[in-house]
């Protein structure tokens, strides 16, 4: 089975903080994998290193067969990313932003593609409005549309449904699932929404204090921890109380 993402002994050490501590994992082509963990667990740091925006202290990252610590650009052309913590230019309209990013990713027939994306994400009503004048939920959809603009083979998402109302969040999850099935996109997402994880993800990487402390499908993890859902599993791992917890802190 080919792995789209392959991470080995990845470590990020800041001066006095070990943000990511020698993690290794692989992600299968066309799967959706969740990075789960409390605040400061190392999820965003891991995503930033996968994207090449942050240099690891040691370890290796291969995405789509490319060494991300060597020449990451061939892989970046086929990847994309969305995060509520990184904005798009607020003074540009949605269409202008998507045009700029479409061209940055060398998307063919970018104008038609923008309209198609806007329809799929229900953005036609505000496509010519500046991003800065949109609601939080609309901005999240715009950010997601930017992440889908190049029909990426690998999609890294940080809190993809943050700030969305339940109806829109549900439609986004359906869209992501359909998008993955249609384009065989490999998705790695960091989320605090356990229902989202249960619904979308084939695999979960549980992180705590910079380490991966457990992995498995949502069903496997729920069973292993003897809980009724992922929410309870998450709390067990975050608090070190679960019977499946492998950090040595379990009660």
């Amino acid at each position: 089975m080919p792995f789209t993402i392959s991470v080995k002994d990845l470590t990020k050490q800041y001066k006095n903080v070990l943000a990511v501590d020698g993690i290794s994992f692989t992600v299968k082509k066309g799967s959706i994998t969740a990075l789960l963990g409390g605040n400061g667990a190392g999820k965003t740091t891991t995503i930033a290193m996968l994207l090449g925006a942050l240099s690891p202290s040691s370890g290796s990252i291969h995405i789509l067969g490319h060494d991300m610590l060597g020449n990451r650009y061939p892989a970046l052309q086929r990847m994309n990313f969305s995060s509520p913590y990184v904005d798009l230019p607020w003074k540009l309209t949605v269409r202008q932003n998507l045009r700029v990013y479409g061209k940055l990713y060398n998307v063919p027939d970018v104008e038609d593609h923008i309209v198609k994306l806007a329809k799929e994400l229900d953005m036609m009503d505000f496509i010519d409005r500046p991003v800065g004048k949109l609601s939080a939920g609309q901005k999240t959809r715009v950010s997601l549309s930017k992440a889908l603009v190049n029909i990426p083979d690998v999609l890294l998402l940080d809190e993809p449904t943050a700030s969305l109302d339940p109806d829109t969040a549900d439609r986004i999850r359906t869209l992501l699932d359909d998008f993955r099935k249609k384009h065989h996109t490999t998705i790695l997402l960091a989320s605090h929404n356990m229902r989202e994880v249960e619904r979308l993800c084939d695999n979960v990487l549980m992180m705590k204090k910079g380490k991966i402390v457990d992995t498995g499908t949502p069903t496997e993890l729920v069973k292993r921890y003897g809980r009724k859902d992922m929410e309870e599993v998450f709390l067990d791992v975050a608090r070190g109380t679960g019977k499946g917890d492998q950090t040595g802190e379990a009660a």
Binding site: A53, V86, P89, K91, L92, R99
Partner: protein
């Protein structure tokens, strides 16, 4: 199937239109670009005319007028070019958009190339109206300098580029606290660039510093044409060679700052 060169060109174009959209959406910015060079030209035009009227020897006053007004317009070209590069970077910081750019396929050199092109467009948008206005206002045309004007322009833009990249390197390293540098650094160098006076009028110990400034050679060249009607190519070569050296240093420092930002994780966090 696009070639690698065509893909690069499209990415450079993407960054260019991103900045042009900002300008198009802000009348205040467009007015600001045209306003300051024109005000400078009008102000210094009157000062120069005053010198011309009070000039001692016949013809000297008229020459001083040409030297001063020409220097004002050319210096502004340098400053506006530097500002164009630096503001292109700051716009991304203010918009918290650096993270998206750095994880896109945009290569650093493509980004820098787009900044250089945009800075020239921005500088010309301010410079051309001021230069053209000087004709009816004072009967002074910078275009009368002829072909040498192109060499002057090129070398001053070249200096504006590396100064812009140097400031960008400092901003990447020091953060937005150093933002004032965007407006201040070029003016800090002005006294050593022999803009309004010859290098020989500086104190002896300062003259080597002025000789090391590419702009000094451009302004010496300007004075040589106006005073003696002679275009001294050696000044342009010196300016060009010095610019090449400083550009290499600036790019090296920029790359160091960029690597350091990737190490510290500040690329995804830059913002207001």
């Amino acid at each position: 199937m696009m070639t690698a060169a065509a893909k690069s060109a499209e990415r450079i174009y993407a960054v260019l239109i991103r900045h042009l959209y900002i300008l198009r959406g802000s009348k205040a910015r467009i007015i600001e670009i045209i306003y300051w060079p024109s005000v400078q030209m009008i102000l210094w035009g009157f000062i120069s005319r005053f010198f011309a009227m009070s000039g001692g020897q016949a013809g000297m006053g008229q020459k001083a007028f040409g030297i001063l007004l020409g220097a004002v317009l050319l210096w502004d070209m340098l400053f506006r070019t530097q500002l164009g590069v630096t503001l292109s970077y700051l716009e991304e910081v203010w918009a918290r958009n650096l993270g998206h750019l750095f994880v896109s396929p945009l290569r650093p050199w493509e980004w820098w190339m787009a900044m250089m092109v945009f800075s020239v467009l921005r500088a010309l948008a301010g410079m051309l109206p001021a230069t053209i206005l000087a004709i009816p206002f004072y009967g002074y045309s910078l275009f009368d300098l002829g072909l040498p004007l192109l060499f002057f322009f090129f070398n001053l833009m070249f200096m504006g580029w590396w100064l812009g990249f140097l400031i960008m390197a400092l901003l990447l390293k020091a953060g937005q606290g150093a933002e004032t540098l965007a407006w201040a650094l070029t003016f800090f160098l002005a006294p050593f660039c022999a803009v309004y006076y010859p290098i020989s009028s500086l104190p002896g110990w300062l003259q080597p510093v002025a000789q090391a400034m590419p702009a000094s050679h451009v302004f010496e060249g300007l004075r040589s044409i106006i005073n003696n009607g002679v275009f001294e190519a050696s000044h342009m070569w010196w300016a060009f060679l010095l610019n090449c050296g400083y550009m290499a240093i600036s790019m090296f420092l920029l790359q160091l700052s960029f690597n350091s930002a990737r190490k510290a994780g500040t690329l995804l966090q830059s913002g207001e």
